[in-house]
């Protein structure tokens, strides 16, 4: 009470209530640590430890035979090796292919820029089974590409055989993760001072040399952040491996799923889960050490200074060439799906193109109790996604602020907190899902059948994306700016609001976009605990695809098209969204 009075008394304006800038710095700082920390503790570590303990308990001696099985058979080391190998290849390929795009988005303004950027992010929300349909339509044995090549080269059999190959896995991983590199690196790059590279060029360095020796080192924090996320995503890949790689390829996540679901071999599944978590953990640990050494406080420049229109022929070629490449890689498969949602009815004697399957979405001829009108599915999906954005962005911003803090007392904490924040992304979904069922079963945390659980699970996955998006920007802020503001009498809160927030606002937006997409497209956790009366769009799509019949196929495609539309619209709205009072940077 006394304390509260003191705080209120400290307010400068008469009659003002408790205002945020009046709260002492240490209270704010502890809140920054405690809130994300307790979120992880309660909704991640507690369920995870519960399931791991339960899994190892029956064997008593912490599953020694399981460890032996892991180490001394050739099967599991091979799986671990393959998982690592395909993730590393996918990451390299994604970074290499997305870097030119990131450059174009960082340095040039061009018409329909927001739309192109929105389109490149759509793959992220699409259920794998739908992506598999799109890829077969394009590169399958009778896909458009093979048919065209056969006609062109007068061949009798399809020349491209990508079906169930490593190449298709890599292609799909690039397809899904391209946007991560594009957005995270492109956003960071946009505020880098182009003067540095120009100076190198003036001094006689070639374009390539200036890039490799000046720009690339400056990009390392953002590149590392994006690569880490891509790697972790591919490392825990499940649907892509199964549906596009086929049953011959087995990753850790696939094996964990099999051991859990088909054999209920929990000790082995738990041991594999632990192995799976180790890799991202070790990488983030490594990255954190490098990061603190490599990140330099930079003189960041606002976008209107760094970005220009493409003028010369070379620049135009660069911009439109990159855009064309992006559209070909990311948008053609989507377009194939959309096209088919209108024309599939041709076989069923419908006029082409027709809205037949869209109209069907609004009907419930079997009077099913679980029929969900498309509007309701959209509402469910968007509702979960917005809640996830709010929760993940708030907690992520807090965590990132702590991680970026240079305060001496926090250094040790940062070294631990950073890898731990990434851990949920490397954790097997089925393991954690069962952990929830086991751990969150008593009031006040009896959440097993609550829709809240969906938001919590989505936020847990989204959190690392927000942190990784925001952190490079926060770390690059020159501390002298903050010091200057503090000397001029600004409270820590005011410093954050006036200095940090405007500079990272764009990065926060990137994090928010990812949180939104992750929630919109997530299927695994949602299906584990779904209440049939509140299905999301991906759940509805799977429902259609789980039975034969052309109208089911068509409705699944129509629903997928709606998902893409909702997603694009969401991005465009978010791009327009600005925190009031925060300057554009």
């Amino acid at each position: 009470m006394q304390g509260a009075g003191r705080i209120q008394g400290a307010g400068r304006r008469q009659g003002a209530g408790l205002r945020i800038q009046d709260v002492p710095g240490h209270v704010l700082r502890s809140a920054l640590v405690i809130l994300p920390g307790s979120f992880l503790l309660v909704f991640y570590f507690y369920p995870l430890l519960t399931i791991l303990m339960t899994s190892f308990a029956p064997t008593g001696r912490f599953g020694l035979e399981v460890v032996a099985q892991l180490l001394f058979t050739s099967y599991y080391p091979r799986i671990i090796g393959f998982t690592f190998w395909q993730a590393a290849l996918s990451t390299l390929l994604t970074v290499a292919l997305a870097l030119p795009g990131a450059y174009v988005f960082a340095r040039y303004t061009f018409p329909a820029r927001s739309l192109v950027q929105a389109l490149t992010t759509i793959p992220f929300v699409l259920p794998t089974v739908v992506v598999a349909l799109a890829f077969t339509a394009l590169v399958g044995p009778r896909g458009a590409l093979n048919l065209a090549l056969m006609r062109l080269l007068k061949l009798t059999s399809p020349p491209l055989n990508l079906q169930y190959s490593l190449a298709l896995i890599l292609l799909a991983h690039v397809f899904y993760n391209y946007t991560l590199v594009l957005r995270i690196v492109g956003n960071y790059w946009a505020n880098l001072d182009p003067g540095l590279e120009e100076a190198a060029r003036v001094l006689g360095a070639s374009r390539l040399r200036a890039f490799v020796e000046v720009t690339l080192p400056l990009l390392v924090p953002a590149l590392g952040a994006a690569a880490l996320l891509v790697f972790t995503f591919c490392f825990t890949s499940f649907g892509v491996i199964l549906m596009l790689g086929g049953p011959r390829f087995v990753t850790l996540e696939v094996e964990i799923y099999r051991q859990t679901v088909h054999y209920l071999n929990l000790p082995l599944a738990a041991a594999l889960s632990v192995v799976q978590m180790m890799f991202p953990l070790a990488l983030v640990g490594l990255y954190t050490r490098l990061q603190t050494r490599l990140t330099l406080p930079l003189e960041l420049r606002p976008r209107h200074v760094t970005q220009q229109r493409a003028r010369s022929l070379y620049q135009r070629f660069l911009v439109w060439g990159s855009v064309a490449f992006m559209l070909a890689l990311l948008v053609t498969p989507l377009a194939a799906l959309v096209e088919r949602s209108f024309t599939l009815g041709a076989q069923a004697g419908q006029a082409v193109p027709s809205l037949y399957f869209y109209r069907q979405l609004f009907e419930n001829p079997r009077r099913s109790a679980f029929y969900v009108p498309p509007i309701a599915a959209i509402r469910n999906s968007v509702g979960f996604a917005l809640a996830t954005v709010v929760l993940a962005v708030t907690l992520g911003l807090m965590a990132a602020t702590v991680l970026a803090s240079q305060a001496a007392g926090l250094r040790g904490l940062v070294r631990w907190l950073d890898p731990l924040l990434m851990l949920p992304l490397g954790t097997s979904a089925v393991t954690l899902g069962l952990g929830y069922i086991l751990a969150l079963d008593e009031p006040p945390l009896n959440l097993r059948t609550s829709p809240l659980l969906v938001v919590l699970a989505h936020s847990l996955v989204a959190l690392p994306f927000v942190v990784r998006s925001v952190l490079p920007a926060l770390r690059s802020i020159n501390p002298r700016l903050r010091e200057a503001a503090a000397i001029l009498g600004a409270s820590p809160w005011r410093v954050w609001w006036e200095i940090d927030l405007p500079i990272v606002a764009r990065a926060v937006l990137v994090g928010a976009v990812f949180a939104f997409t992750i929630s919109l497209g997530e299927f695994g956790a949602t299906s584990l605990i779904a209440r049939p009366e509140r299905p999301t769009l991906p759940v509805a799509i799977y429902r259609f695809l789980s039975r034969p019949g052309i109208t089911n196929y068509g409705q699944a495609l129509a629903m997928s098209t709606l998902l893409m539309a909702v997603c694009t619209l969401g991005f465009l709205v978010m791009e327009r969204f600005r925190v009031r009072g925060v300057g554009e940077f």
Partner: protein, 366 residues
Amino acid sequence: MRQMLSVVTVLVLLNGCGKAGVPAPTSMPTAGPTETPVQARTVRLMTHDSFEISEAVLAAFEQQHHAKVEILEAGDAGVMLNQAILSKDNPLADVLYGVDNTLLSRALHADILEPYASPLLAEIPDHLELDPQHRALPVDYGDVCLNYDKRWFADHGLAPPTHLEDLIKPAYRGLTVVEDAASSSPGLAFLLATVGYFGETGDNNFLAYWAKLRDNGVLVASDWETAYWTHFTYGSKGEGDRPIVVSYASSPPVEVYFSEEPFEEAPTGVVVGDGSCFRQIEFVGILKGTPNRDLATAWVDFMLGKTFQEDIPLHMFMFPANRNAQLPEVFARFAIIPERPAEVDYEVIEARREKWVEAWTEVVLR
């Protein structure tokens, strides 16, 4: 801080929604201390994500028993059963529906179900009843069989297959797509059909068959969705190149039902030769320790009764277990029930499944 507040608001709102899903008990005005208040009670059903029911049928139960049915779909049948086993000490529901004969033994060994000898068992054929203690009661069944694209075979002047042995003939090279036995439920069922038909021993055992099938260019997809929609010539509208797929005996009537043009005959056929199909039987059981045993038994009776049984075909695409249930017209006209599906004992399935799948993986995939 504003963001913080909105988090709290959203959480509160969501929580509110969560509760709104379960309607508040409607309490009737109590006349005196002798009268107990009548409240709408809730029976919780845990099931897999293919469960469906029509509005009217669900409402019939709810009205008759003045109760609310809360349905929890917990992933596919395997995930659902594992959740039920792990939450045994604090069950998520009162009734569990959807465990099939490939998982039955696991459910019984985990001891999660209470016996209940429903009077309606009298209307269910004995051969569907696998648990003599009545912990798991048969609700419906369906056969996993090879389907083929009728038009493709007509266009190519080839006779459709009739037996498992046809698939290894040179004429059928590269025509078949099956699902991964290690990750897909129809994939496992079809493997079990070959185990039942060819047996585990002898020169002509199931593994020898699979080796020949592999040599004859069988394609293995990870799941039914991929096999049917991207590889099966009929399902993929010509983009796939496999006119034979592992699916269900009920798939042809379902194709007819979910099509636009009226069919005189189903566009796909089923291979029903002796031992070429595997019969999946789905069970319902009361979860141990339910506080609502009376309502749970009422729900089990309801599922075995005629109203629900006749609702099954068009909602779950399985066949009703109750012999008095009438099939809907599209099923009566287009469905074929194989007379002699392969037989594999459910106890043996659980005991040897991992071994079979591993041997199969070794032969077919590596």
